[in-house]
Amino acid sequence: MREIVLPRVGSVAEWRRQVRGLLAAGVPPDRVIWRMGQAAPDLFAEAAPPDLATPDAGSAPPAPLRLGREAVAVLESAMHHSDPDRFALGHALVARLAAGRLVWGDRSDPPMRRLLAMDKAVRRDVHKMHAFVRFRELPADGPRRRFAAWFEPSQNSLEPAAPFFARRFGDMDWVIATPGLTARCVGGTLDIGETQAPPPRGIAADPGGRAPLPDRPPAPDAAEDLWRTYYASIFNPARPMPRAMQAEMPKKYWKNLPEAALIPGLLRQAEDRSRAMRKAQPRDPSPRIEAAMRNRRLPERDLPPDGAAPDLDTLARQIRTCTRCALHCHATQAVCGEGPHDAEMLIVGEQPGDQEDLQGRPFVGPAGQLFDRIAGEAGLDRRRVWVTNAVKHFKFTPRGKRRIHQRPDAGEVQACNWWLMQEVRLIRPRLIVAMGATAAQALTGDGRGILKRRGGLERPDGGAPVLVTLHPSALLRQPDPAAAAAQEAGFRDDLARAAGFVAAG
């Protein structure tokens, strides 16, 4: 039997070093007894130096030990558990992992499960320490403010927990004392040692007025009263759930939490306060407030006038507040057409897409960018045409983090036609380009057979001629590259024809 005594400070790092040596030496885990030692590592070194140089006779040759980063982190974390068997358990598991007799993380193996449970308990305890340490201010003579706290962790959590406080409280000096160890951070240097002073019985029982010891928290200060005020005020008495609270803030922590003393009183009064709020009769506001409320600016008061718009700016304001169909409830905003008011050509797409809906401008998404490119190639300057959509609100189905485009139905196209017809009336274009079935339906009353009709001029109701073509998003959706290229060429020809028609005058 070999006895290994680990130091109280840095015990896990030392355990890891020793296990590495023991494995290399082929010492079987059941021949080692692990113990926590008295004080500093040097004392321990005299007590029981493991004889790493001479492998035990007859043992297996040392296996090279490789563990994943997660495995090492979990092992080290679990070794901070308070279970006295932890070092032996960890050693035995590492030996089996090294020999290939165990897969890391295999929950069907009881010792592995026990180790994982230990890791979980330590991580929870460290997290609770990060949460529940409460500092009190100490007098300081230098520029850096000084704070101290007393905490009682359930596991050996101070060492894994301390670096967090060093990262967070970089501009102050602090000390956190626990029954076993004390962490001090002075001038940014973190130092962990054994707790010197006899531990006080928690903050609540700490006699105030005595000169504070470095390892002992001082008397409460004014900020603590403010904190209690905050705690009592943020509690909603209409929904007391003491069990949910205790699941996360177990009673064992309460004695060192300045706010915890308020809990019983808050819960006692909660039902009375809640009942009083429910029973209270609604009061009428004072005359002064009544008067103020009459002068409020309500969004409805900003509504533009009803009826046919006298100009394109009024039309845009009307479109933005459109509720003619249900689409407005889910879309971000109605997207109006844009372009010069005296444009000779009107280009009509289907409806705004995701980007158009967010930005509030037509033809800015992927299909719009494709349109810009092909139009440029066809000699059509987008800045000289009015671009708009048959339907002004985006219709979609939500799918996770994305919105999937949905084709507007006949009713929605019909409802929105009111706006499109006004755009046609106010711009009086010489040519309208209808891109895709929805636009064709809105402008000619028929959205069928686009591929057959494309490139042709139609004259519904004796108004401006309508040139029917594909919608650029159809090109984006075409999976076959050859077909896509052919469609793109056709689309380019159509736009070139439109440009030529207008240029011919």
């Binding site: 909603n236 429910r278 905003q333």
Partner: protein, 409 residues
Amino acid sequence: MTRRTLTEKLAILADAAKYDASCASSGGQRRDSRDGKGLGSSGGTGICHAYAPDGRCISLLKILLTNVCIYDCAYCINRVSSGVERARFTVDEVVRLTVEFYRRNYIEGLFLSSGIVRSPDDTMSEMVRIARTLRERENFRGYIHLKTIPDAAPELIEEAGLLADRLSINVELPTDSGLARLAPEKSPRTIRKAMADVRLRREESREPSHTGRRPARFAPAGQSTQMIVGADAASDATILGQSATLYSGYGLSRVYYSAFSPIPDASRLLPPERPPLLREHRLYQADWLMRFYGFDAAEIAPEGGMLDLALDPKTAWALAHRAAFPVDPNRAPREVLLRVPGFGTRTVDRILAARRHRSLRFEDLAAMGAVMRRARAFVTLPGWSPRGLLEGEALKARLMPAPQQLSLF
């Protein structure tokens, strides 16, 4: 307004802020103060520093700059027609409270909201001034969450997003008509537009670098929103549909559901009832199913429907779709395993990892973290077959929690 002490102001303005459920302090930019020149750190998992007796966590100093408000939202304790005590912090008071609480490890940072005084721009610029003072004068590197006022000027929102970790804008009610009735000054269009702007700015600020995606500098911890449940007649299906719309459109980190709870000096427009806490709980469960379990809103709550209060929504779905079960954990793909009641995402990941090198038995599932009381009727694998368990009304009764657990009071 009478002169009040800091303690009195804190009591009034924390009381006024407690109906906002959001408390998250996780994610965003990694910062610390190891350089010794500042205070605070952020960017990891959030920490709940305390729990109030209502079971809610206290992670941030959640206060209002002022509870004076020119709006009259019926559900709100701070509406202009309410008779509550009014108070107003100065910029310095909020900064001092935040820093002193933070130094004592009471909080992760500040969650600042406000009533609308004078104008949306006035109020928003005061809030931005607090965030700027914290960041620039105090070198504060902790978490800041600003409740954005949707009507405020774009420059103010821009600055807020660069100073704060998270921005949020409350949609308040699940339907536009509900908002028009209960919050006449608020416009659903303006709210959605503001959320769209935050999403676009976040995407712009996340310039791609050679290492791939990097966190946005604008509101690095994202944006969130809140809906009040039970103040209007909206069904659960409507609420979840609205959430799905918001998640898909604006890249929200979270939608919070706040059971409408009676407030001091309540409006006549609202029911003086106990808050529907169980309904709120079921909505959060359903929200999780949408975000992490691949469920669609319409699957969880049918059109116009309400969630079953007696059963969690996943179990309720499984009971209504028994033909899809039993499932074999040794073969089923991830998305099918995620639909088994009693299996969480971690359990599913463990099952997938373990079955790569061996065949799972029934006894293994509990060790993987599955809740077998719920899962057993829905799985089949070596060592177990549910046989008749899946059929009949008895299954539902078996899956119901014991009656006393339902009472949250």
